[in-house]
Amino acid sequence: MTDIEQLFDNLLDDVASGKRSPEECVALCQETYPELVSSLKLALALRTAIPNEQEIEAARVNARRKLDALLDQDEEASAGLQGIRVRPSPRRKTRWLVAALCAAVLALVMFGGWQLSTATASALPESPLYTIKRGDENIQLQLAWSSATRGDVLSMIALHRLDEARAEAARNNTSQALSLMGECDAATRQLIGLVITTQSQRQNDAALTRALMRTMQAEYDALQQERSNGASMMVQALTSTMTNQQSTLNASHIQMPPMATPVPVTPTQVAPPGAATHPAATPHPTQQPHATPTPRPTTQPNSKGNGGNSNGNSGSGNSSNSGNGAVNSSSSGSGNASGSSNNHVNSNDMGHGK
């Protein structure tokens, strides 16, 4: 501020605080800055520029009447002043219109995207949408920075290939089905590799293990269904795939948690996920050692506490399975039905063979 502006400001403050009277300020101004006098006088006089008392009184009443009308109108509209609204201005209306339009377009795009996504999810290799499906998978895989997310994506890809292989097999498109099973196996093996790496680095692998369990469980369920359907080609392919995967897991000492859902099994089948069959496989902390088979009373409705077989011959030869609850095609113990009487093994009991 210039000197004159500063003086002007000081004098205004002096008057406002009562330090000097307006007359004193004007007198001081005449001594120091005569050119400021008229401006100061005007500034001080403006306070008196008020409408006359009659006008003010009338305005007070008129404005009050109008305000009361507005409040009453609003009160009626919003029932107790809870949601007071004023009529939106044309500009606000336009904004609402634009917002509504944008929302509609967005909803349309999202709906279209959802429809496309639904359509591509079931697309088979001969479908024009199949390229989109595979492209989407690749993008998801590229964008999966964390191992957990990558595991989920690999699991999803494996399951897609599995479904596609089964669909192609159902259409007697054997070569395509086998090719897709190969891709399913490749994705699952990538997932297994990820689990091995993560475990070797002693990192948290819970999410990856869940993804692997989910994948192998699906393969196992598919095997059961294909078996019941009498689809020998798929049974053979799945058995081979799962056996190899299981071997890899066992060779790598991968610990798999017990399955969460009951899995129907019959003799001469591959073990369900979580059933480590390799002797060297590290047992689950809650699992019993392979060499010390123990009865599994909870898995045998008719066992009456006599362990893992129906004839009460507990642990007489099925040591490879009774400890971890898995029924394996190799588990043919002497004098033991080896699961022939317990076609349904509760997966929750797996690894809890007390």
Binding site: M1, I4, E5, F8, D9, L12, A16, S38, S39, L42, A43, L46, R47, T48, A49, I50, P51, N52, E55, I56, A58, A59, R60, N62, A63, R64, R65, K66, L67, L70, L71, D74, G80, L81, Q82, I84, V86
Partner: protein, 188 residues
Amino acid sequence: MDESDAFLVARAIRRDREAFSQLYDRYVDRIYRFIRIRVGNKEDADDLTSVVFFNAWRTIDHFSPKHDGSFLAWLFTLARHVVVDRYRRDREVMSLDAMGIHRADEAMVSPEDDLDSRLTIMALHQALRLLTSEQRDVVLLRFIEGLSARQVGIILGKQEGTVRGMQFRAIEAIRRALHLVREGDTLD
């Protein structure tokens, strides 16, 4: 904020109309004067004053300490917005009005206005129209309403120092504008 203002505002936030009515009685004169000088028309000033208080009632829960705890300063902010909004909406009417000071004067002065009112309010209104928007606000809030530089800064969204720097230029501008208006009156 004045203790009783704070109490009344707190009650008004809880939708106590009686409390709000007391706030209205307390500040309606100053809000009316601010608007009256800005719009130069009694009827419009009545309307806009009621709108300011209606908006205050609707949004009183938005009243914040940002306004230096002054409910009056907040009301002036609302009043300023209401006047600007009215000018914007009535731009065509205003542009006709702005064609000549004397034509506007004729339209605004009603027979019941007394001479003093016409000389002060009308002259001031016309002179203010010759100022920039910021100068107009500074003159109204700082000199006519007597608010502190800090309060004016809060209402205008400017630093206190900026307002102090602006006020001298604003008073000089209104002085020149009033001189022009008086010359016009004399010529008539």
